[in-house]
């Protein structure tokens, strides 16, 4: 918060919070920070979230802004090792940051911290409660119940799950869960780190479980054509009853007209008897090492992680996600509360970031492509796994 030091000049922020709700939040943050510092001009550039994933590199190496959005863990590795992210250990040294301790690990590489988180959110199954009621279904706790439910849903002429896999990563979510439930969190992490072959029997078992759903026609058709947003209407219209997604999907679903009575959430059911691991990606702010106004940037980082701001931006009417500051209040929102509860008490296996953040880039890209293919052509599994194994052998040298 600048601690009495006057912040001057310009603060250039490039954010990837391009969906309508996050966009409003980010714009609010920038405006608020600008107002707090009369001598400082805050320039906010909002970049398409998908596009930003390719552009960040250019942005960091040339004409770097002062603050950028990115992701924790493996995903920030390349920029840290290339020296493009500023070491912000001093920000973390402040005693107020103790409240963020739970996320510190995800921000740490080589014992230093390279950014701050501003939000995280649970993944899980969002479903049409009203349809469940109509069909007399209850939230399943095991995979068998899940499949039983699904069979009834299909009988009613609906699909069980909507998904839009055009940009691949949504399939990664399904794999994360299938694998974490089949083989456990630790195994999943070993796979991510290249320690297990993709052709391993255990991996095959994951796919075999997944295939049960595919074979019964649980997923909507033609999902490879849709982005995740384009898949939403299936659920809104009731053509599909559930969506394995992050909590950010609640906002557009509500916006599309679903009320909280119609919308429910449950944790991904268990398959094998392993501690449940959960996906809970953390979104972050970083300071590029080429930033010109690092003082203001650090002040901004402190600003966004402060308890009040965290409470505010993660509120149900804003991001609708979980605050990273333990001193913040969790929004009074059915889904946020459920997620918070789930992650606090029911994620014994561990918390993963997400497929494309846990796996190295080249592996992640090949992997998600294979996952998408599997969802459409499950018969190609052997070929897909052989391909992934080949990539694994090359990538983790």
């Amino acid at each position: 918060d600048g601690h009495g030091m006057k912040l001057k000049g310009e603060l250039n922020i490039t954010s990837d919070m391009s969906n309508p709700a996050p966009r409003a939040v980010m714009e609010g943050l920038a405006a608020q920070f600008d107002e707090m510092h009369p001598d400082l001009t805050v320039n906010l550039t909002i970049v398409d979230r998908e596009a930003w994933k390719t552009q960040i590199r250019n942005s960091l190496s040339a004409n770097a802004p002062d603050v950028v959005n990115w992701y924790a863990a493996n995903r920030m590795g390349p920029y840290v090792s290339a020296g493009l992210f500023e070491d912000v250990s001093d920000v973390w040294a402040d005693e107020s940051m103790a409240a963020l301790a739970s996320t510190k690990g995800a921000m740490t590489i080589d014992g230093k911290q390279w950014g701050v988180p501003y939000t995280y959110y649970q993944w899980g199954i969002y479903y049409r409660e009203d349809i469940f009621k109509e069909l007399g279904l209850t939230e399943p706790a095991t995979f068998d119940e899940e499949m039983a439910n699904c069979a009834k849903i299909i009988d009613s002429g609906r699909k069980c799950y909507t998904i839009g896999s055009k940009f691949l990563w949504t399939a990664g979510g399904w794999f994360d869960y299938m694998n974490m439930r089949t083989n456990g969190f630790d195994f999943h992490m070993q796979l991510a780190q290249g320690e297990v072959e993709w052709t391993d029997e255990r991996v095959r078992e994951t796919f075999a479980n997944w295939r049960k759903l595919i074979d019964m026609g649980a997923f909507i058709d033609d999902h490879q054509n849709y982005s995740w947003q384009e898949a939403l209407p299936f659920m809104v219209k009731g053509e599909a009853t559930a969506y394995l997604m992050g909590n950010f999907s609640v906002a557009p679903l509500r916006e599309a007209g679903l009320t909280d009575d119609q919308l429910g959430f449950y944790q991904f059911p268990t398959i094998a008897d392993v501690p449940q691991g959960e996906d809970a990606p953390t979104d972050t702010f970083h300071i590029p090492s080429g930033a010109t106004n690092k003082d203001a940037a650090k002040a901004f980082l402190e600003f966004v992680t402060s308890a009040d701001v965290q409470s505010d931006i993660n509120g149900g009417d804003k991001l609708g996600q979980l605050p990273v500051n333990s001193a913040s209040s969790v929004a009074d929102d059915k889904f946020i509360a459920k997620g918070f509860e789930m992650l606090s008490n029911n994620a014994k296996g561990g918390v993963a970031q997400f497929f494309d953040r846990d796996f190295p880039a080249e592996m992640a890209s090949a992997g998600m492509e294979g996952l998408q293919e599997f969802m459409v052509f499950p018969d190609n599994l052997d070929d897909i796994l052989a391909r992934l194994e080949e990539t694994r052998a090359r990538v983790y040298k």
């Binding site: 550039t45 998908e50 596009a51 004409n63 947003q229 384009e230 599309a256």
Partner: protein, 282 residues
């Protein structure tokens, strides 16, 4: 004239032809017409699944209003203008000079340099991508309109040189000789004799380059990011991710992005076609 002029065919044949024309046209432009219709539909049509029925209301102003007042589209459009216009001017300036040099003078290496320009223009430009991006970054022009403009000028100079040189070649050479006998200096020949005669070529080329540059997407993605510098082709993808699945707005946005070159084409049709044929068929 081939095929045989329709006037020489029977009356019924003529009628059939006249009738067929609009039908074929509609089929040909079907995807485009569909988008145009999308762009005036209300949101509710899509949620109600009324994709192809009669629009339930005429939402032209709402939809286009949103595009113009609630998105970055105007900024992107402006960027496109600020990228395209200087590129056109720069390219024309450079290539009329190279075209003059290659079209008028006989010297060793003339054909070689000419072919270098052509060959460079035929190159799959992906091979330039990495080094050009690097060069632009090193010149501190990454994510600036200038960076994009400089590259476009250089690359289009290849094509335009081909065009200009052939055009100048076709000018009667005695014009140059007459001027030389009169003691007109070479640069004066360029400025006062050749340049005024190239006006049609310049106009044609300007229109052509305008559309090429306006429609460029690849280099916009490679050399720029964000609404500060990106042209509308790249902007439309950002716009679309903002309004994902809102087909009425995406359609309106696409139409807005496509409109300037289309207008250009209609206003300058003669030059446009002259450009294509001169540059190509010659």
């Amino acid at each position: 004239m081939f095929p045989t002029p329709i006037e020489k065919k029977s009356r019924s044949y003529q009628m059939a032809y006249q009738g067929l024309l609009p039908v074929v046209l509609v089929m040909w432009l079907l995807p485009l017409i569909a988008v145009a219709v999308f762009s005036i539909r209300p949101d509710s049509d899509f949620t109600n699944g009324n994709y192809w029925g009669v629009p339930s209301s005429f939402n032209f102003f709402e939809n286009y209003g949103k595009v113009f007042f609630e998105s970055d589209m105007p900024r992107y459009l402006l960027n496109s203008v600020f990228i395209t216009v200087p590129t056109v001017l720069g390219t024309i300036a450079l290539s009329s000079m190279t075209g003059f040099a290659l079209g008028i003078y006989k010297f060793k290496g003339n054909l070689l340099i000419f072919f270098m320009f052509i060959a460079g223009n035929f190159v799959p430009f992906q091979i330039l991508m990495v080094p050009v991006r690097d060069l632009t970054v090193n010149m501190n022009l990454y994510d600036t309109k200038t960076g994009l403009i400089l590259f476009h000028i250089a690359f289009q100079t290849g094509f335009c040189t081909l065009f200009m040189r052939n055009f100048i070649r076709a000018l009667p050479f005695p014009l140059i000789e007459a001027a030389r006998v009169e003691g007109v200096r070479e640069w004066q020949i360029f400025l006062y004799v050749v340049l005024p005669l190239m006006k049609p070529a310049l106009a044609a080329l300007a229109v052509l380059i305008f559309t090429f540059i306006w429609n460029d997407y690849f280099w916009a993605v490679v050399l720029t990011q964000g609404p500060d510098a990106q042209p509308v082709t790249a902007g439309i993808t950002a716009f679309n991710s903002q309004y994902r699945a809102a087909y009425h707005l995406m359609s309106a946005g696409s139409i807005v992005a496509a409109l300037p070159p289309v207008l250009m084409f209609f206003l300058m049709q003669k030059h446009f076609i002259a450009g294509l044929t001169l540059g190509a068929v010659k």
